[in-house]
Amino acid sequence: MAAASQQGALVLEGLSKRYGTFTALEPTSLTIEDGEFLTLLGPSGSGKTTLLQMISGLTDPSEGRLIFNGEDWTHRPVNARGMGLVFQHYALFPHMTVAENVAFPLEMRKLPSAEMKTRVEETLRKVQLDQFAHRFPKELSGGQQQRVALARCLVFRPKVILMDEPLGALDKALREHMQLEIRRLHKEYGTTIIYVTHDQEEALVMSDRICVMNHARVEQIGAPSQIYGNPETLFAATFIGHSNVLSGEKVSSDGDVATIRTPFGTFSGKHTARDRSATDVSLIIRPEQMRLGSAPGDAFDGVTGRLTDLIYVGAETRLLLTLGSDTSLTLRHDPSAGDLPSIGDEVAVHWPKTAARIVT
C-alpha cells in the first residue's frame, strides 16, 4: 500500500494501545479511504472500541501515528477533529431535552438559531423522533435514546463518523430502517463511516470493507465477498458465515493450491492462509458447496459420515454429519439430488476442489 494516499484518507500507522502490561490493541496499520464504509467486526473485548476511541482522539495511543488527509492527527485535540462519534452507551446529556442534545454540536459551531432549529427538526424527523423533541433522555426507551445519539451525531454532518454499535438496542424492523438511513446518508454526503458491530449480517449488508478483529488484532480486512469467499484464518472463516472445518497438516503447496492431510483423508484447496509457511492448517468448505453422494470426478473431494440430524429452517433443510468423534459437517439439502436420507445412515458428501480453502 502506498504511503502517500488519496485525499481525505485516514491512515493508521502501527497504532496500538496498552493498559499497563495488558494489550488492548496490537500495533495496527490500515488505510481508510475517503467516503469508505468500514466495519469493525469481532467478538467482545477484541479492541473495536479501543481502535475507534484512538481514531476519535478520546484515547491516546501507546504507539503509532494517525494521519488524516496527509496531516499528523495523533495528538490533535478531540474537539478540533470534527469527527462524529456515536457512543456504545449513548452518552446523552441527562439535563438537556432531546432537542437540546441534538442542538448541542450546532451550538458549538455557532450556527444561527433559525438554521439550528430547522436542522434539529429535520434530523429528528429522519430518526423518527420529531414528537419526542421536548422529552428528557431518561423518559425515552433504550432504542429511542440510541436514535437520539445517532441524530446528535448526524446533525452536524461530520466528514468522518465513528459508530460504536449504534443499532444494538433496536428491534429488527427499526434496525433495518436505520441501516438504510445510514447507508443513504453515507452515499448522500460521502461521509467516511467506521462502524462497529457484533452482527455479521449487518456487517455484510452495509460495508464496503470489513475489518475482522480478534484478540486485540486485525485478523483480516477486505470486501465482504472477499472475506466470505477467501478467508485467511480459521477465525475469519468461522466468524463470518458458516464453515465446515477439517483440521490437519499441510503436506504440500504449489502456488495457489495446497494439500492437507486430515484424519479423514487428504484434500486439496485454494491456499488463502495469511501465513503461507504454517503447517497447522484447516480446510474450509462453505455448506452451500457440499453435495450428497460420492465425488463424481478428479475435480472433487469427498468424505463419508453418519447423518445425525436433519434441521428444517423454512426454505431449506440442513443435514448434520458426524465424522469420527469430534468433527461435524453441515450441508444444505439440494432437492434435485434425490430423497433425504434418514438419520443414522452412512452418507457420502463431496465438494469441488476449487471451492475449498486452506487457512491457518
Binding site: 500507522e13 501515528r65 495528538h75 474537539n79 462524529g84 462519534l85 446523552l92 439535563h95 458549538m108 452536524f156
Partner: protein, 581 residues
C-alpha cells in the same frame, strides 16, 4: 497491509488533573500543617532561648492536677461515645428500615439537632437543667420532688449535654452503612435456621460494625477537644483538656504549656484513628461502607474472640425471641424507643421558643406572659446586629472559598489515579478530625504574628479550613455518580474544556455544589472555637457574642438570638434537602 515501522507517540505534556488540588493544599499547608508543626515545636522549645527542652513535658508529668484533667477528658469522651452508640444504634437501625422517602423525612429530625449550634443546644440544657430550670420547676411544682435536684454543674449535666450534642453525628455516621446492608442476607440466614437473635448478632451486627466503629471514633475524638458543654454544664471537677488549653493561652499566655497539651490531644486523636484504621480502614469515615474484600483486618485470634462474644450475645438474647416473634407490639416497642430518642434530640432545642417570647425579664418557665420585647432588644442592639452581620459576611465568604477549594480538590481526586490520591484524601479530611481547639490555637499563634487576628480575612481563612472537608466529601459524593463519558461525548461534538465545565459538568453537579456551599455556610455561621481566638475583642461573630453573654448572664435575649439562629439553620437545611432531590 504495509508493515510500516511503528513510530512511538511522544507523550503530550499535560497538566494532570491533580493540579486542581493545589489551592486547597496550599491553604492547608500554610494554615493547618505549618501551625500544627509550629505548635508541636513550641512544646519542646525553651521560650527564651529556643533550645530544645523537655521541661514543659516534665512539668506536665509532675503536676497531678493535669493528670486528673487528662483522666477526666478521656473518661467523659469515652462515656459520651459509648452512650451515643448505645442510644444511637437503635435509632439508626429504625431509620434504616424505612423506605427512602420516609427515611429522608425522618432523618431531618436528626439533621436539625446536628446542625444546631452547640451554643444553642447548651443554652437550652442550661434552661432545662438549672436549679430553677424547667425540669426542676416541673418536678417540684407537681410535688414529685420536695427540693430541686442537682442536674448540672456535675458530671451528669456534662454527659447529658455531650450525648445530646454528639448523638446526631453518631446516628448520621451509622445510617449510610446500615442502608448499604443487604436485607436478604438476614433472610437467607433465616432460611438456614438462624433465630432472630442469631440473625441480628451473627449477620446484621457484624455488617454494621464498621459504621459503629466510625461513629465511635468520630464522637470520641470530637468529644476529646470539646469545651462548650463542660464549660457551662460542668462543675470544677469536669474541667476538660480544651478548657485548660484556652486558659493557658488566653489568661496565662503560657504558649509552651498550651502547646504540650495540644500535642497530647493530637497524639490521643492519632492513636484513636490508628486503632480504628487497623481494624476498619479509613474509607468508612467518609460515609461509605468499606469494601468487604474477604481479607478481614485484625488478627485471626481477635476475630475468633469477637465471634465468640457475638455468639454469646445471641445466646443471651435468645429468650426474648419468643416475645418478639409472637407479639406484634415488639415492633411498636422499637418505634416507641425511636420516638423517645427523637424527642430527646429535638425537644430540648424547642424549649428556647417559649422563652424567647416571654414577657418576664428572667428565664422562668412557663413564661408568665408573652411579648416580643426580647426580639426588639436584639434587633435594636448595635452589638448583636454587628455580630450577626459579621457572621453572615464571614459565612458567605467561607461558603464561596470552601466550595471552590474543596470542589476543585474533589474534582482532582476523581480524575486522577495518582499514588498521591490516598495521602491527599487523608489530608483533605484532616481538619475534620484534628480537634478544632488545636487548629484554633495553632492559627492564633500564626495569625498573631502576621497580623490576621481580629480581621475578617483571618476568620474566613480559619472557617474555610474547617469547612473544606465537608465540601470535599459532598462534592466528591456527587462526582462519584457523575458519568465522565458525557465529557467525552461533548468533546467529540466540538466543545472545549471550559464549555464542557459550564454546560455539562456544573449543571449536573449543581445540587451537590450548592449543598456543599450551604454546609460550609452553616459551619462558619455556627463556629465558635476559631472565633474565640481570631475574632478579636470588639467586633465579634454571633456565636462569640453568645458565648460571652452566656458567661455574663443568662437572659431572654439569648433565647431570642437562639431562635433566630435556629430558624436560619432550619431554612438552609430545608433548602439543601430540596436541592438534593
Amino acid at each position: 497491509m504495509s508493515a510500516s515501522a511503528v513510530v512511538s507517540a511522544p507523550r503530550r505534556f499535560q497538566f494532570g488533573p491533580l493540579w486542581l488540588v493545589l489551592p486547597a493544599l496550599a491553604l492547608l499547608a500554610v494554615f493547618f500543617i505549618f501551625p500544627l508543626g509550629r505548635l508541636f515545636v513550641l512544646g519542646v522549645q525553651d521560650p527564651g532561648t529556643g533550645a530544645l527542652t523537655t521541661e514543659h513535658y516534665a512539668r506536665l508529668a509532675d503536676t497531678p492536677v493535669y493528670w486528673r484533667i487528662l483522666g477526666i477528658t478521656f473518661r467523659i469522651a469515652f462515656l459520651t461515645a459509648a452512650f451515643c452508640l448505645l442510644l444511637g444504634y437503635p435509632l439508626a437501625l429504625w431509620l434504616s428500615k424505612m423506605d427512602s422517602r420516609r427515611q429522608s423525612l425522618m432523618t431531618l429530625l436528626v439533621l436539625l439537632p446536628f446542625w444546631t449550634s452547640y451554643l444553642v443546644k447548651t443554652f437550652a440544657w442550661m434552661i432545662l437543667l438549672g436549679n430553677r430550670g424547667v425540669l426542676n420547676s416541673l418536678l417540684t411544682d407537681t410535688g414529685l420532688l420536695e427540693r430541686p435536684m442537682r442536674l448540672m454543674y456535675n458530671e451528669l449535666g456534662v454527659i447529658i449535654g455531650m450525648v445530646h450534642a454528639m448523638m446526631p453525628l453518631a446516628v448520621l455516621t451509622m445510617l449510610p452503612v446500615m442502608n448499604s446492608i443487604d436485607n436478604r442476607l438476614s433472610l437467607a440466614a433465616g432460611t438456614m435456621g438462624a433465630s432472630r437473635s442469631q440473625r441480628f448478632w451473627l449477620i446484621y451486627f457484624p455488617l454494621s460494625a464498621p459504621g459503629v466503629a466510625a461513629a465511635g471514633l468520630l464522637t470520641f475524638i470530637t468529644s476529646l477537644g470539646f469545651f462548650i458543654v463542660p464549660a457551662f454544664l460542668g462543675g470544677r471537677g469536669q474541667t476538660m483538656l480544651a478548657q485548660t488549653i484556652i486558659t493557658q493561652v488566653q489568661e496565662l499566655v503560657n504558649w509552651s504549656f498550651a502547646a504540650v497539651l495540644a500535642s497530647l490531644m493530637v497524639a490521643a486523636t492519632l492513636v484513636a484513628i490508628w486503632i480504628y484504621n487497623k481494624f476498619f480502614g479509613l474509607s468508612a469515615l467518609s460515609g461509605q461502607a468499606p469494601k468487604v474484600d474477604g481479607t478481614p483486618r485484625g488478627s485471626a485470634a481477635l476475630r475468633a474472640c469477637g465471634q465468640r462474644v457475638l455468639k454469646d450475645l445471641a445466646w443471651l438474647s435468645s429468650p426474648f425471641d419468643r416475645f418478639a416473634s409472637q407479639d406484634p407490639s415488639a415492633k411498636g416497642g422499637f418505634s416507641i424507643y425511636a420516638l423517645v430518642a427523637v424527642i430527646f434530640l429535638v425537644a430540648p432545642i424547642l424549649v428556647v421558643f417559649p422563652l424567647a417570647f416571654t414577657s418576664a425579664s428572667s428565664l422562668q418557665f412557663p413564661p408568665p406572659g408573652y411579648s416580643l420585647r426580647w426580639f426588639e432588644q436584639y434587633f435594636s442592639s448595635p452589638v448583636w446586629l454587628a455580630a450577626t452581620l459579621r457572621s453572615f459576611g464571614v459565612a458567605f465568604a467561607t461558603a464561596f472559598c470552601a466550595t471552590v477549594l474543596g470542589g476543585l480538590a474533589a474534582l482532582a481526586l476523581a480524575r486522577s489515579q495518582s499514588r498521591w490520591n490516598g495521602p491527599i484524601f487523608a489530608l483533605m479530611l484532616a481538619p475534620m478530625v484534628v480537634p478544632r481547639i488545636v487548629i484554633a490555637v495553632g492559627l492564633f499563634y500564626l495569625m498573631a504574628q502576621i497580623g490576621l487576628v481580629a480581621t475578617n480575612t483571618g476568620l474566613v481563612i480559619g472557617h474555610t479550613l474547617l469547612a473544606i472537608p465537608y465540601c470535599f466529601i459532598t462534592i466528591g459524593a456527587v462526582l462519584k455518580s457523575y458519568d465522565w463519558r458525557l465529557n467525552q461525548a461533548a468533546e467529540t461534538l466540538g466543545a472545549g474544556r471550559l464549555t464542557i465545565l459550564r454546560r455539562i459538568t456544573l449543571p449536573l453537579l449543581r445540587g451537590g455544589v450548592i449543598s456543599a456551599a450551604l454546609f460550609a455556610f452553616v459551619t462558619s455561621f455556627d463556629e465558635l472555637t476559631v472565633a474565640i481566638f481570631i475574632s478579636g475583642g470588639l467586633k465579634t461573630t454571633l456565636p462569640k457574642q453568645m458565648w460571652d453573654d452566656m458567661f455574663l448572664q443568662l437572659n431572654p435575649t439569648l433565647a431570642a438570638v437562639s431562635v433566630v439562629v435556629l430558624l436560619i439553620v432550619t431554612v438552609i437545611l430545608l433548602a439543601t434537602r430540596k436541592l438534593q432531590k
